[in-house]
């Protein structure tokens, strides 16, 4: 079926539709939005996409996305290199940073173990974590993977493979979500919240 649009428009819609969550309708809407903006806006967007995709790589130390290697956090001498916080994705690192509470370094696994999907430990950046710990100077590894089954699986697996090293392994506290009603919490969450209780 031939497109009712001029070729450059059809091509733009086509490319936009390859983005996650963008269907043909949204693709058309975005394309016409772009066409109505000033040419320099379009050029700036195109340049931003090019810059990000060409300049962003993986930090050889922490495996986060970065435009320099090592990344800014790994180079920051004010941060405590003896503590490594392990997260699944770059966006989890960003969430951690937004708290402003953490002054150690990170390790980004780039995923979580999901046996049913065939995602095993080899698919993640676990070997890189182990060689960092093996390299010495690490006192504590904080497991900050998600609290869903994949995140728990990953945390338990990491705890197991980190056992032979002289390093303390901790798990972020899991409890009731803020605003969560006690009577609607499931038993596992409630039991853990009870265990993780602190003196007030």
């Amino acid at each position: 079926m031939s497109s009712p649009y001029a070729l450059p428009i059809a091509r733009l819609i086509d490319e936009l539709c390859k983005l996650p969550g963008v269907g043909p309708k949204t693709g058309q809407r975005l394309a016409f939005h772009l066409l109505h903006r000033r040419p320099e806006d379009a050029r700036s967007l195109a340049q931003a996409i090019l810059d990000a995709t060409e300049q962003i790589g993986t930090c050889s130390v922490c495996q986060n996305l970065t435009d320099t290697d090592p990344c800014a956090i790994c180079r920051d001498s004010a941060r405590d290199g003896s503590v490594i916080c392990v997260v699944e994705e770059p966006r989890d690192l960003a969430a951690m940073e937004r708290t402003g509470e953490y002054r150690g370094r990170y390790h980004v696994l780039q995923g979580a173990i999901s046996p049913m999907d065939g995602v095993g430990p080899e698919e993640l950046r676990i070997r890189e974590l182990l060689s960092r710990v093996q390299g010495g100077g690490v006192r504590e590894v904080i497991l900050a993977t998600n609290t869903d089954v994949e995140g728990e699986t990953t945390a338990m697996y990491l705890a197991r493979v980190l056992k032979p090293f002289q390093v303390s392994v901790t798990r972020i506290a899991r409890g009731l979500p803020v605003g969560g009603d006690l009577d609607y919490a499931d038993q596992v969450t409630l039991a853990r919240a009870l265990e993780g209780r602190r003196e007030v």
Binding site: M116, G120, P121, D148, T153, D186, V188
Partner: protein, 252 residues
């Protein structure tokens, strides 16, 4: 049907959009169902117990493509499945088996019961791997794939002194009927154990004590059996095997 209420085990959960979760459930009244839990990841959501391997009482609304979870009340959390790596990997395999061996909206109350009993066995039993062997046999039988164990599946004669297990032949075969490839040799004791497991109540499974050799034979036979009927090797097996590889007991 609109609104309905049933017990369900969550087999699998995927994040959907910003706050929703896509679930594959095995329900008592409807069998396998795909459902969405809207807003479940929002703090303060009243939908609880929608994590994998949880048994919950649900109220669902039947949709055209996906059902929707309206209310949920967790019944059993099977906590060790979330806290012991080996048990968790075993539960993943059980969930994958149930998902793979069943069709949507084809209810089997017996299969539901076996699933719940299986989760309990994997959570509390002393031998999760043996429990998996039992579950492979029972779940495939309930899904319509019951292996022939009492005689040679090919000629109908005695299994004989040197039996083998051949998925493509439908079960145990005698030495004369053994195919050139795709068969696992069974010691006579292993065949007896298979027959015991095929008929056992879940609570009786773990009276069985197997040698490492018998364990390995049984695992090869039954993993072969479910892989043959799923038309692929279950994905969860790699992780399970990696975990039990350095364990003292025979593996999967």
């Amino acid at each position: 049907m609109g609104l309905y209420r049933t017990e369900a085990v969550v087999l699998r959960a995927r994040e959907l959009g910003e706050t929703d979760r896509l679930l594959v459930l095995y329900t008592r009244s409807e069998g396998k169902v795909r459902a969405v839990a809207k807003g479940v990841r929002r703090p303060g959501s009243r939908l609880a117990g929608l994590e994998p391997f949880t048994l919950s009482e649900l109220q669902l609304f039947q949709g055209r493509e996906l059902d929707r979870v309206i209310q949920s009340q967790p019944r059993r959390g099977f906590r060790p499945l979330r806290e012991d790596l080996g048990r968790l990997a075993a539960a993943s395999y059980l969930a994958e088996l149930v998902e793979g061996l069943t069709a949507e909206r084809d209810p089997s109350p017996a299969l539901f019961q076996t699933l719940v009993a299986g989760m309990a066995l994997l959570a509390q039993g002393p031998d999760p791997l043996l429990a998996l062997r039992f579950l492979e046999l029972r779940l495939s039988a309930l899904a319509g794939f019951q292996p022939v164990l009492d005689r040679c599946a090919r000629c109908g004669g005695e299994a004989g002194p040197r039996p083998a297990f051949a998925p493509a032949e439908g079960g145990v075969v005698c030495a004369g009927c053994r195919p050139v490839s795709g068969a696992v040799s069974l010691a006579p004791g292993t065949l007896a154990s298979l027959r015991f497991l095929a008929a056992a109540q879940p609570g009786r499974v773990e009276v069985l004590r197997l040698t490492a050799g018998a364990n390995a034979e049984m695992a090869r036979a039954l993993v072969g059996w479910v892989s043959y009927h799923l038309e692929r090797r279950p994905r969860s097996l790699d992780f399970l095997e990696a975990l039990y590889l350095d364990a003292p007991r025979g593996l999967c």
